[in-house]
Symmetry: C2
Subunit: 416 residues, 2 copies
Amino acid sequence: MLWSKDFIPTIKETPQEAESLSHQLMLRAGLVRMLIAGVYSYLPLGLKVLNNIQRIIREELNSCEACELLLSALQPQELWIKSGRDKALGDVMLKFVDRKGRNICLGPTHEEVITDLVKNHIASYKQLPLILYQIQTKFRDEIRPRFGLIRACEFIMKDAYSFDAEESGLDKNYKAMSNAYKRIFKRCGLNILTTEADPGVMGGNVSHEFMSPAQDGEDLVLLCPKCKSAKPLKETSDQSCPKCNVTLEKINTIEVGHIFKLGTKYSLVLGANFIDAKGQQKPIIMGCYGIGVSRLVSAIIAQNHDKDGIVWPKEISPYQVVILPLDTTDRKIMGKAVEVYKELEQGGMKVLFDDRDERAGVKFKDADLLGISLQIIIGRESLKKNTLELKIRRNQKKLIKTKTVILEEIKRYVFG
Amino acid sequence: MLWSKDFIPTIKETPQEAESLSHQLMLRAGLVRMLIAGVYSYLPLGLKVLNNIQRIIREELNSCEACELLLSALQPQELWIKSGRDKALGDVMLKFVDRKGRNICLGPTHEEVITDLVKNHIASYKQLPLILYQIQTKFRDEIRPRFGLIRACEFIMKDAYSFDAEESGLDKNYKAMSNAYKRIFKRCGLNILTTEADPGVMGGNVSHEFMSPAQDGEDLVLLCPKCKSAKPLKETSDQSCPKCNVTLEKINTIEVGHIFKLGTKYSLVLGANFIDAKGQQKPIIMGCYGIGVSRLVSAIIAQNHDKDGIVWPKEISPYQVVILPLDTTDRKIMGKAVEVYKELEQGGMKVLFDDRDERAGVKFKDADLLGISLQIIIGRESLKKNTLELKIRRNQKKLIKTKTVILEEIKRYVFG
């Protein structure tokens, strides 16, 4: 893509309205813009990052034989009254009455809707187990939206639901999902702390949270520096590790995933039953599994940046390579740049071509801010020597070699 | 994918609640389910169809150098008051006040939001032209939702916006978009009538509609049987072609696309200006281009079905091949079926494996209903002769040949 045809409005100065570092970098690199507090537009670069996260999630969940579907944002309040969660959610749920007089809410989550869907189509134990998931936009009436995508009124979630005939089936799916989460977060370039958590309004009796350490994270986790076990900070928390007998460290984190053994909470109240092998009617045993997709963008930046800007993990980088011709009025430079651009794109790589008529310094600063994994710098010096300059964003290493060697190096990095 | 792990609830009987044929087939083939009137859940097969449509749209728009972004569903009513469209849209817009006292609406379209975004980032003619688009969920408070996905309260749209410095630039982008639309609809397996239309509430003075003929379509178009020119039916419509002097035919259609030369309507009221080459401030010249993405599913089915069910166009088919082992208790049949399944998947094809313990008749009927392009039927007879049976859904042709020949034939069909 040519930079001039793209829409990447970078900002030099630190935006004062952004409290957290990840939010500042997101604005500066032109990933998002705020429409109103808690509501964001994803600009092309931000959307590419979101899509990369979503691709990883889909690959890992599909490998667990989970099926993707897409539920609606509009939900009848009636279902929430049935489950008793209309009161539990309270004012956080956005509600209104439509022209037909229907009481509608904007889904903050989908346990009720999916249980209602499945109960009409699952009759026998032969149809179980089943795992369904969606990547979809959710809504919360946040009284105090903060930190950009972290506490927003409109955000993207991946929510998965497992349906089993036996407790042992739920245990197996819960374990499989937990492992898939670990693989997902690793591919997203995140170190994660897993804690046993309070199921809260979701229900059930077992739940785990996936917490991503971040300087500005709102959630405090206690970590044992020795055995690395972690637990959420509560008022009653003991400040030492019961196993290692050392003082626990307080770590700021962002919650990026939460999984729950729901049991029969929703299937009982909504009547989602099946007939077992002996002909008896039983409630379906459920689990639910959430990932904060848009929030992950913040968490990834919080763990992957330096003083110059974002440093995207390999699989998340919105483009894999950015090409910087240092003088767009120089025909030879532009000729070489276009040649390299075409070869990389034909090789199946996503390449951004900085064709802007800007000073070299501006291009270097913007390329570092954007955080694209690899930079190819083409100037008069390198042309004279018939070489190209490759800069690896993460470690700032530079390699000056012939085009053939540089392109081989890039292929190894991207596909290796 | 194994059918037993998927979620494809087919229905034998014609659902009485569905008025149109496309809606009936969508329910019967397990593509969608209604949550409340006008609000649908896309089941796995329906989502796959949606994804295929979206992939085609993205490929064709990206080839026009359009950039994808993603705007929010929540919008401040304030922007609509500025443009004067709050009154024009009226009760169709879903509105509410949030906890912070903000007047919010759920976006039925995004001209205001995108103009507001662009005005903060485009300052000079050097940054133009620019084309931005999104594929996103929109909301309308339909007083009478009908025909499944055709007139719904929550639906998916592709909306694109062009920004130009000159009228000639708008003309060029409008033409490019119109051509992209023709390619998109063709790849979706649709015959389309293009009509000059009334811009209506969108504004501007030139607009064209892309109408998809459909037995149950609500919009009537007058078509000249000789020169094939088309125009929307109005009360004042002349019932003969002015060029050919023959009586026009009334055709039922579904509106699947609409493009508008907006001119400066939105840039003037929202103050989206740029500085031209002479240093003068001018309003940006805009165009907008919509496609009803979820509605396309209905339009495609309306033009691509027979008495047995859906007949998906090649690029839309949710899977490319369905494998039907006729007896799942027969080890030899299942062995051969799994062998073929693995080879096709390794060849990069999307394959559904009907591993259900059902009678051959049920499998045949369901496969025809689902409309997947190719069926491989594996029974005792064909195994004896060391052959496979390939059925092409569209023309019902059958080919009984060795595995090698059949797999070559499938490759040719899918990738050829």
